[in-house]
Symmetry: C2
Subunit: 193 residues, 2 copies
Amino acid sequence: MRYPPEHKAEKRQALIEASSALLKQGGYAATGIDKLMEASGVTSGAFYSHFGSKAELLQALVPHELELSRNAWESNPHTEPTAWLEFELERYLNIKHVRHPEAGCMLPSLGAEIARANAATRKVFEEEMEKGVLMLEQKLGNADLAWTFICQLVGAILVARAMPTKAAQLTVLDANKRILLESLTRTLASFAE
Amino acid sequence: MRYPPEHKAEKRQALIEASSALLKQGGYAATGIDKLMEASGVTSGAFYSHFGSKAELLQALVPHELELSRNAWESNPHTEPTAWLEFELERYLNIKHVRHPEAGCMLPSLGAEIARANAATRKVFEEEMEKGVLMLEQKLGNADLAWTFICQLVGAILVARAMPTKAAQLTVLDANKRILLESLTRTLASFAE
DNA sequence: GTCTATAGATGGATAGAC
DNA sequence: GTCTATCCATCTATAGAC
């Protein structure tokens, strides 16, 4: 046959990727399937050849997005813990990240809606987060610190995005960066003792 | 006249209070005005005697909710910084807070939708947050630390809520509590030097 | 597999009776 | 000020033509 079975899987993946930016930008509940499919140049009818429901799209979005986030961490060129952290703080706690949710981490924009999603979606979320924490644990030497670091970053972007001006957004970002750099460096040093 | 002008303001306030739980639980976009008014025993027609639009309700919800959050902080009985923090960590980073968004802080549940709201709503949000940071600054001695503390707490609840099991939620909460207590105590000590 | 068309429900918001 | 009724848009999801 002309189109092998994996062609359908590829199309499905393409729909997920095209939907992700719109969902992160506008929110899951507020963004209709029509609009999501428009981004891929198809109509909403085509959507249901690839997904059983809108909820299934959200579930599929979770591993896609969290894998991208882990890849970003992996691309950090530093090996020394403090330098690695400094680089990560600059990358995540960035004003561009605040102002462009469509290109950023799914957690600040869709975290609350994942929390309201069905059990299957949250199960996938947990599994993908565990992978991320495992990776971070190897950098930071401690699982507690890994969870805390993630929560801090997510909260900082969430709060900064709710601010009305760039100045206020920078206030939030810079405060977080200053405290985190100082505090984490000291925490890492205490582990090394 | 039988009903003084403030009676209307009181009714408006009552509608806000009755809506708040449903909005935090179900999300702003996903919860209709019909359902919100049902909680007050009126129909959606009555809504528009008190609010010009659904967006105006969200804007009114922000000062109401953030004042409640500040009041909770104020009720902390401790004066010594470390004891104050410990109490606050137990209060906010609590499994009940994770599992009952309708009774908790608006930031983890509605923060992302405030970030997508209009400029007027975000302006009010900023003003109310400044008040909270000012109050926290007096407890922690540092504005950067106040912002960071808030972001950390919000992120922790957001991430914990997205977890599928109570065990996983506790993992997130406990990790944050352990690191925060240790790290903040050390940071406070460094300020005292 | 994607299209058009549409069902069926619900969304925000308005009009007019009381 | 609140009600019922309704407008109109949009939502998720399905049916049938191609």
